[in-house]
């Protein structure tokens, strides 16, 4: 009984979500085949982005809101290859290669900034996203076409500089997803993308066992102890963010090749918010996140996203109410997920205190 309760408590967020979705699916009236297809597509689209959050959590830096920096780097790569008309798999690979140095640089900047804001990394990362967004606009809206020569007039505004607000990625659209075509019973499977995600997962698993990965975990558990043990704390934290930014950069490229269009000035903005929400819904916490959390989270979060507009509409009978309902639910459940986690943590601390029978330990 006790064990069952613990199990329930530990997976409360996931269970809550699963129940909510189970209730919403029949209400939305969406055909199951469509749901399956959408979820499988979205899994391929979003998994890498969400994966990029794992390493900073391990290093005790919380959820990396600075991952939008990586997303921006990825977009710069895509803008450039679209401008040069490099298409297909070579185009996508080149975009990733071009974005890599940008992502590393931005990641290093982000890590250095976060090192100066220990204890409030999440909020700082959030604001850093806004700040770098300004720099990004400066580059894409003013430097491209004037300082950085652009070849393709279809990308440049007719005033002569600045990139148009929507870029059609026809050249690289779904090249990963369709590289190994597979159709099972009317369901299209992005096999190659899945392989890529699997490879990234393996990378994360392998990385955790390396010396650097162990160091990161040590830093995440206790900075002072890690420091005493001779681990370069600051450097390790920066590396965690650099890797995360790099993964986010590749993640955004995978995301956009599936979407097929790039909102030049906005595509990156929600990348952080939605990935973090997905990870939390998958049962992760600010201090503990694993690969199953990523996969479960993406599936649950996106199922909710797919069914809630129509479910909301059918429930309250008006399209606009349905839209607000969807947003209410998606923000609300993130809040609930965070609250449940915090409750559990406090309960755990109380238990630990009781077990110690010592004086209260300050948190």
């Amino acid at each position: 009984m006790n064990r069952l309760r613990r199990l329930l408590a530990e997976n409360a967020v996931v269970l809550l979500f699963a129940a909510l979705i189970a209730a919403a699916i029949p209400l939305s009236g969406a055909p199951p085949l469509y749901l399956l297809q959408e979820v499988l597509t979205r899994l391929g689209r979003n998994a890498v982005l969400v994966l990029s959050l794992l390493l900073p959590v391990m290093a005790g830096m919380g959820l990396n809101f600075g991952m939008v920096l990586g997303a921006m780097a990825g977009q710069i790569g895509l803008i450039l290859v679209t401008d040069w008309a490099i298409v297909g798999l070579p185009g996508l690979t080149l975009a990733a290669m071009l974005a890599t140095p940008v992502a590393v640089l931005l990641g290093w900047l982000c890590g250095a900034v976060l090192n100066r804001a220990k204890g409030r990394e999440m909020v700082t990362g959030y604001i850093l996203g806004f700040f770098v967004n300004g720099l990004y606009q400066l580059v894409v809206l003013y430097a491209m076409g004037s300082l950085i020569p652009m070849l393709n007039p279809e990308l440049v505004l007719s005033r002569g500089y600045g990139v148009r607000n929507v870029i059609n990625l026809t050249g690289v659209r779904q090249v990963l997803d369709r590289l190994v075509p597979a159709r099972i019973g009317g369901i299209q499977l992005p096999v190659f993308t899945y392989a890529l995600i699997a490879a990234m997962c393996l990378f994360v698993v392998w990385f955790r066992r390396t010396k650097l990965g162990q160091d990161m975990r040590a830093v995440g558990q206790d900075r002072a102890v890690a420091d005493a043990a001779g681990i370069p704390v600051e450097r390790t934290r920066i590396l965690a963010i650099v890797l995360s930014t790099l993964l986010a950069c590749y993640g955004q490229i995978v995301f956009l090749q599936n979407l097929g269009t790039l909102n030049t000035y906005n595509s990156h903005e929600q990348a952080g918010m939605f990935s973090i929400a997905a990870l939390l819904i998958g049962g992760a916490s600010v201090t503990r996140a694993s690969i199953p959390n990523v996969l479960v989270g993406v599936v649950l979060f996106h199922l909710l996203f797919i069914v809630s507009p129509t479910a909301g509409k059918n429930l309250v009978g008006s399209a606009q109410l349905g839209e607000y309902f969807r947003q209410f639910v998606s923000y609300g459940v993130i809040a609930v997920a965070l609250v449940l986690y915090a409750w559990r943590k406090q309960a755990g601390e109380q238990q630990a205190r009781a077990a110690l029978r010592g004086p209260g330990v300050g948190t």
């Binding site: 040069w84 798999l89 070579p90």
Partner: protein
């Protein structure tokens, strides 16, 4: 070699490798628009008339029939392509010409002159860079007004 030097060397090699790979990717992935032009051309004072009804295929793809003075648009990827032209009828009689065309990296779009290719003209005459027409020649919007008879009376 000391460890640091070996490391520096390794890094330089890695960087060079990445640059080479990037350049190769850019070259092979570059998309071009080709206008296959079956119109008469004058090369070095000599006129090459356009043959009637030719079958053109690129890189062994599906052939397309082009009548005299017709133009086809194709999207191709990469620098080197095989152009195959099969003339059904015309001044020179039925024949088949195959030749390789090379596209410079910087060209977004190129015009391939089929008569020039048939005549065995040098590459510079067969493949030329496409230039967009000047804006003065661009058409402008033409206004259309609703007929008064179609306007519903006001409530």
């Amino acid at each position: 070699m000391s460890r640091t030097r070996r490391r520096a060397f390794l890094r330089a090699a890695l960087l060079a490798g990445a640059v080479v790979l990037g350049a190769w990717l850019a070259r092979t992935g570059r998309a071009h628009t080709l206008f296959l032009d079956n119109a008469a051309v004058t090369l070095g004072g000599q006129e090459h008339p356009a043959p009637g009804a030719v079958e053109v295929s690129l890189d062994g793809g599906k052939p397309e029939v082009l009548e005299q003075a017709e133009r086809a648009m194709r999207q191709v990827v990469g620098p080197v392509h095989r152009l195959a032209i099969e003339v059904r009828q015309g001044p020179g009689g039925p024949r088949r010409v195959e030749r390789e065309i090379r596209l410079p990296f910087g060209w977004d779009a190129a015009v391939v002159s089929l008569p020039a290719a048939l005549a065995g003209a040098p590459a510079g005459a067969v493949v030329t860079r496409w230039q967009p027409p000047p804006p003065e020649d661009a058409p402008a919007e033409q206004m259309i007004q609703q007929k008064d008879a179609d306007v519903l009376p006001q409530r």
